[in-house]
């Protein structure tokens, strides 16, 4: 490509000044970017209104795309179902017969559990659902792991609320717009969830790695052994997430800090349930006059 000699502006003062001003503005743009970056580093929710305003426009578009995409990608599955429905029926009947005994036992145990809890008079807080919505898009080009939920302030979603899928915990809401909310996924580097092992109640911390997996770290003991297949659920400590929500399963054995895979698979675009904050921080007590 031939060079563009646009800097030789000739004798026109107006043109000289406008070219010069263009470059001044270009450098000023970088400076403004630096200032914005510092501002958003020290005060992350500073520009959430702007971001969520844009998200409020893009979220319905993503929702529409998702509906179209899922109906198209559902066609092969529907054809397969049509031909294999008989085999599936047989398999399901067999499965039902196998699990009936288990179900009866579980019901008995659940009844016993309820009765014993009543006996102990435990004050139980059950998580209250706010809204059921879908995750429609995500920050797929950035190192941060955010997803957009297609429900927002109009549906009662507020920052800090936990979001769970049918299989387990997904993350929590960080910013809300009128009809969209930004969810910090478990796999983000900034996400930390207190968990415990289902087998023996060993407390641990589930911290996001940024690459889709999470790290399980032991908190109060050293040289803790984790086995592959260990299952971790939330403890309820911290007050955001209710206790007993499945979080992750350890993929490889190790000690002190191991990799784990989350139960909830956010990329299936399944339903997500937003729940109320499990135990909100009480408002500060008014200071008594001296």
């Amino acid at each position: 490509m031939a060079p563009a000699r646009d800097r030789r502006t000739g004798f026109s003062r107006r043109r000289q000044y406008s070219v010069f001003l263009g470059y001044v503005l270009a450098v000023a743009g970088a400076v403004v970017g630096l200032v914005l970056l510092v501002a958003s580093t020290f005060n992350p929710p500073a520009f959430s209104a702007l971001r969520m305003g844009v998200a409020g426009v893009t979220t319905p578009v993503s929702t529409g795309f998702a509906a179209v995409g899922s109906s198209i990608s559902g066609i092969p599955g529907a054809i397969g179902n049509y031909f294999f429905v008989k085999q599936e029926n047989v398999a399901l009947r067999a499965d039902r017969a196998r699990t009936r005994a288990l179900l009866m036992r579980a019901r008995t145990i659940a009844y016993d559990n309820r009765r014993l809890r009543n006996l102990l008079a435990i004050r139980e807080r059950s998580p209250e659902p706010v809204v059921t919505a879908r995750l429609v898009s995500s920050s797929a080009s950035s190192g941060r792991r955010y997803a957009l939920l297609n429900a927002g302030r109009w549906s009662g979603v507020k920052p800090g609320m936990p979001v769970r899928g049918p299989d387990g915990l997904i993350g929590r809401v960080v910013e809300t717009g009128p009809n969209a909310a930004r969810v910090l996924l478990l796999s983000d580097g900034d996400s930390i969830v207190p968990v415990r092992r289902t087998r023996d109640g060993l407390p641990a911390i589930a911290a996001g790695r940024g690459d889709g997996m999470i790290d399980i770290r032991s908190v109060n003991a050293t040289n803790v052994r984790f086995n592959a297949g260990d299952i971790f659920v939330t403890t309820g400590t911290g007050g955001i997430y209710g206790p007993g929500v499945p979080v992750a399963r350890v993929t490889k054995a190790g000690s002190d800090s191991v990799m784990a895979r989350t139960f909830a698979d956010p990329d299936t675009l399944d339903f997500a349930l937003v729940e109320k904050v499990f135990m909100p921080v009480p408002p500060p007590r008014p200071i008594a006059p001296q």
Partner: protein, 176 residues
């Protein structure tokens, strides 16, 4: 079937602009913003593998059609990209502005360039921008580096596509 073009008639207006000036000026902005909006596709990704297509479009315009953008255009376009990308606000404003300044400085040294050199410059800037964005957004200890290298390679390979799009539009809007 279209009518054969009669060159030596009054229909032939070689200096006529093909698009009104305002629209011809708006199209590059629209394409870069559309590239930034690639994040609205309905995929909830667990790894950051989607190329930042807005930046690739911006580089293609800047390198192949020098006058499509004013020198200051990188900052407002970067601002829009920050709003939809999930990076902390200001990271693309900074990185894209610096990329424009870097291209300006390279252009003084490397006056006559061919396509491969453009691609090389774009690749360098893409790698710098993605790495810069990673250190701005994600803590240093996060395990995103392998994925990041894959993302950089994918983004570099997107440049020819962006160059094709730019060349196509530039043909339509009647170059400068």
């Amino acid at each position: 079937m279209s009518r054969p073009r009669v060159v030596d008639s009054v229909d032939y207006k070689p200096f006529e602009t093909k698009l009104p000036a305002s629209r011809a000026r708006a199209i590059p902005w629209a394409t870069v913003m559309a590239g930034s909006l690639v994040t609205i596709i309905p995929v909830v990704a667990t790894i950051p593998l989607l190329p930042p297509f807005g930046f690739v479009m911006l580089l293609a315009w800047r390198l192949l059609a020098r006058f499509a953008f004013r020198p200051w255009a990188a900052a407002p376009l970067g601002f829009f990209d920050d709003l939809v990308s999930g990076q902390p606000l200001g990271s693309a404003v900074l990185m894209w502005s610096l990329a424009f300044v870097a291209i300006d400085m390279l252009e003084q040294r490397l006056a006559f360039r061919d396509y491969w050199q453009d691609w090389l410059i774009a690749s360098g800037l893409i790698a710098a921008c993605i790495l810069g964005g990673r250190f701005i957004a994600v803590p240093v200890g996060a395990h995103v580096d392998t994925v990041l290298i894959a993302q950089i390679v994918v983004t570099m390979l997107c440049f020819p596509l962006a160059a094709r799009i730019v060349a196509f539009i530039q043909n339509k809007r009647g170059g400068e």
